[in-house]
Amino acid sequence: MSLPTSQKPVQTIPEATILFAGDSGDGMQLTGSQFTLATALARNDLATLPDFPAEIRAPAGTTYGVSGFQLRFGSEHVRTPGDEVDLLVAMNPAALKVHLPRVRPEGAIIVNADAFTKRDLELAGYDHNPLENGSLASYRVFEVPLTTMTREALKDSGLNQKEIDRSKNMFALGLALWLYSRPMQPALDWIEQKFGKKPEIRDANIHLLKKGYHFGETTEDFVVRYEVRPARLQPGTYRAIRGAQALAFGLVAASQKSGLPIFYGSYPITPASDILHELSRLKTFGVMTFQAEDEIAAVGAALGASFGGALGVTATSGPGIALKGETLGLAVMTELPLVVINMQRGGPSTGLPTKTEQSDLLQALYGRNGEAPMPVIAASTPGDCFDAAFEACRIALTYMTPVILLADGYLGTGAEPWRIPRTADLPDIPVSFVTKPNHTANGTARFLPYVRDEQTLARPWARPGTPGLEHRLGGLEKQHETGNVSYDPANHEYMTRLRAEKVERVARDLPPTPLFGDPAGDLLVIGWGSTRGSIEAAVQRARERGLKVSSLHLRYLNPLPPDLPEIFARFDRLLVPEINNGQLVRVLRERYLLPFIPLNKIQGLPFRAAEIEQAILDLLA
C-alpha cells in the first residue's frame, strides 16, 4: 500500500534500538517480530533479542511476567541488539520498571497510560505513579491511552472486550511503524494470512494497525518521525533466522551433503530444546528425533545410531553435558562420529537457565575422565550457527570423532538477517563405509577396525549388516589396529597419543584465521562464541577514534588454528573478553605463554559494546 504522505518532518538517523515490553499476554514477541520483518524489508541490517520470563505463566502485571523484544536496526552493519534503548514501548508499569534502566538518557518512552491504575502500580511494586512523580524527567515520555483508543476503535467490531483488549499491541505496532517510517504492508499481509478465516478479527487488527499509524501522524505529541536508510548488504536472498533454527538447518544440510540420515537424541533442557522442536518438524528430511528418558540415554542413542552408520547428534546445556561425559569418553574410545551441541547457560548446577554464559569451555575441552580429547568449535552469531553445525558434522565424519559445538541461549533465541546459502554451493561431506576386509593374515582376510587413514588418522567405519566385517567395539582400551581389548602398557600410551594426534590433525584443514581490522597494531581483541557482535562493534568504534585495534574471533577452540602465534606476534597487547570468569584466557596463556589480558562479565548478560570499548580505551590510553 502507499503510505500517506507525512506532514511531519523526517529526521534521518543511522540506527535505532527499540524495545517492546509488556505482560506475557500482551503479544510483545509478535509485535517485535512484525516490526523486525518490516525493518528487514526496509533493507536495514538488524539484530534482535527476545527476552521472556523464566516462569511460564507468571502472575499478570508483575515484573516476573514481563516479556520483551529488543531490536536494533541501522543503515550500517548491525552487530548487536544494542546497548541502550532509544525507544521503549511499555504496555504496563511492570514493563516500565524492568526495562527503564536500559533506556538511554533523553530516550523515548511510549506507555499505555490506561495501564497505570493503582492496582497495576501495586502489582509492579511502584509506591508512586512514575508518570506523576517526576522520576522520568530525563526521558521523553509519551502517554498514550492505548486501551481506551483500542476500545473506541473496535466498539463496532463485534469482538468481545477480551478480544478487543488483546488487540492493542497492533495499535502500538502501527504507531512504532509510523515513528520509524517502516512499511505497513508486511504486517497487513501477515494479518491477512493469520486471520483470513476469521474476518472480524482480521478486520479489527487491520483497522487497529492503521489507527496506530495514523495516530502518530495526527497527534501533536510526536513532532518528528525518523528514517533509517537501507544498509549496504551483500546481494542475495535474505531471511530472519534464530540460532536454534540455523543449527537445525545446518544439521539437515550436513545430512544431505553426507548422505547420512540424522539421528537426534535429546532430553528437554533450556535453552537447547528449541533445536529438538525444529528438528522434530523436519521428518520429511528423514530426520529421526528421539526424546530420550534422560541426558545419558539421549547421547547413548545418538552414539548407537552412529555405530549403525547414521549421523548421530545430541544437544543439551551444561548440566546435560556433565551427564553425557561418560558416553563422550566412549565415543572417543570407539572413534565414532558424534555431534554434541552445548547451548550454554549460566552455571554452575542449575544456575541461570534462561541467561547466557560462556562458562562451559573448559568443560568442553577437559570435562571427561582420562585423556579424552575431542574437537571443539563455537558459533558466533545466530546465522553462523548454520555454518558451525555443518562444520561440526564435517569434522566428526572426516575424523571419526565426537565433536562439541558450543553455542548459547543468546545465540539460540537471538535473530538476525541471514543471507540464504545456495545449497548447491555447500561442499559435499564424503563418507565411505568399509565393505571389504582390510587385512590378510595367514591367508585369511580380516577386518581390523583400528587401522587408520594415513592423513586423518580416522579409523574405518564398518556398518553392522556388512558381511565379513563383524567386529566388536567398546570402552576398554583398544589394541592398535586389531581393536582387541589390550592392557599392554606401551599400547595404551601409543593409543592415547594417537587419539590426541588425530584431533590435532583437524588443524591441517583449517582456513586462515580472519582478522577484523588491520593485520597488525597496538591491540588485538580475541573472542569466541556469541561475543562477536559486541567485540566487533567495540573495535569498530575504537578504530573510528583512530586506535590501532583489531579483533579475531575463534571458530576452532580445539585444536587451535596453527596461524595464531604468528598473528599474536603482530600486536603489542592481547585482550580476551569472555562471558565467564576467564576460560579461553587460561587456555591461551598456557598454550602460547603470552600475557593475555582477561576481560570478564559474569552477569548472565551479553557484553555491551561500550563495555569492551571502554576496556580498549583503558588499555590504550
Binding site: 524489508l41 530472519a240 530420550a292 540415554a297 545410531a305 555405530f307 556398518r463 570402552g475
Partner: protein, 392 residues
Amino acid sequence: MADSPKGKKPTLPPGMQPGKKPTLPPQPAGKRKPGSPPGVAAGTTRPVLPPDTGGDGASAHLTRKDFASDQDVRWCPGCGDYAILATVQRLLPELGVPRENIVFISGIGCSSRFPYYMETYGMHSIHGRAPAIATGLKASRPELDVWIITGDGDALSIGGNHLIHILRRNLNVQILLFNNQIYGLTKGQYSPTSEQGKITKSTPYGSIDYPFNPISLALGAHGTFVARTMDRDPKHMKEILRQAHDHPGTGFVEIYQNCNIFNDGAFFPFTEKDTKPERALFIEHNRPLTFANGTRGLRLDGWRLQVIDLQGGDWSIDDCLVYDETSRELSGLIGRMFWEPDLPQPFGVFYREERRTYEDLLHTQIEGLIEKRGRGDLDALLHQGDTWVIED
C-alpha cells in the same frame, strides 16, 4: 519374599522327595516379523551377500563355531556365563538371521564381556547404558537383530531408567539379564536383587536393601515379552531365548546365573536336581500349573495362590490354574511368586503381548509424512517464510 536370608539348599518339606526333571513345555517357534525397512535412511539398503553365504537362508550353513570369536573367554572357570554363551551360540545358527545382521550390545559387568566372545557385530558400552545405545541402533537400523546383554547391577541399578524405558517403548530387541544377585566384577558387593540380610563385602552386618523382582519390574514397565530361565537348564534357556527372539517387540529374559565365586549356589534350590522339582515351577501357556513331577499344583483360593496335592484325592489337575501368558492379571500374580517359602519359583514365559514397536512407529511416521508431503527439499526449507532480496 522370605523375611530371612534364604539358605542355599532349603530343606524340602516333609514327605517330598526329589524327582526327575520336569518335562519341558513344547513351545511353538513363532514366526518373527521382519524388521521394518529403514526407508528414509540414505545408504541403508540391505547389503548384498557374497555368493557363499547364500542370502537369508545362509545361517543354515553356520554352526556354533561360526559365532565364536577368536578372543579367549575370560570368565572364572565354573561361571554360569559359559552355559549362556554356549546356548546363544547354539541357538543363533537356527534363527535364520544372517550373521552380519546380528549385534550384541552390553553394558559393564561380568556378563557384559559377552559381545567380545561373539563373532558378530557388537559393542561393550558403559555401565547401564546398553539399552540406550541399542535404542539408537535399532531405531535407525530396524533390520538389524539386536541383543542386549546385561546383569542385575547393570540393568537394575545404574541402568534402571533405561531398562524401564526401552520396555515401554517396545523396541524389537532381546534383553538377556544375567541375574547372579551379586556384583562380581567389582568383587562381591550386594546387588539390587540380593536378598535382605545378605552378608557381602559392603554389607558385613547384612544388607538392609529390599530386592527387586526383575519379572515384576519388567511387567510394571509394560514389557511385551517377559520370561525367566536358568543357566543350569540349557534346553529351557534355548527355547525361551528363541521365543524372546521371535517375539516382535522387546524380549526380556531374566536368566538365573550362578556366580560360583561370590554367590555360589544362590539359585541351587531351583536349579539342582534334588530340589528343582519341588522348588521350580515351569509355567506354560494354556497348561495347568503343576510341579513336583505333576504331583502338586497351584490353584486360586480367592485371589491367593494355594499349593494343592494332586495325589491325596482331594484335588485333581482340573482344579489347577491354567496359565494364560496373555493375561496381565495372571502374569502379575505368578510373576510375584518370588522366593516364597511355601511356593515354588516360576520359570518360563510370564507375559506376551503384540504391540507395535518403536522403530516401526518411528519409520511409519516418517514415511507417511514423506508420502504425504514429498521428500524434504533443503532449498525450499531455507527459503521458508518471509524472505527479501538485496540486489546488486
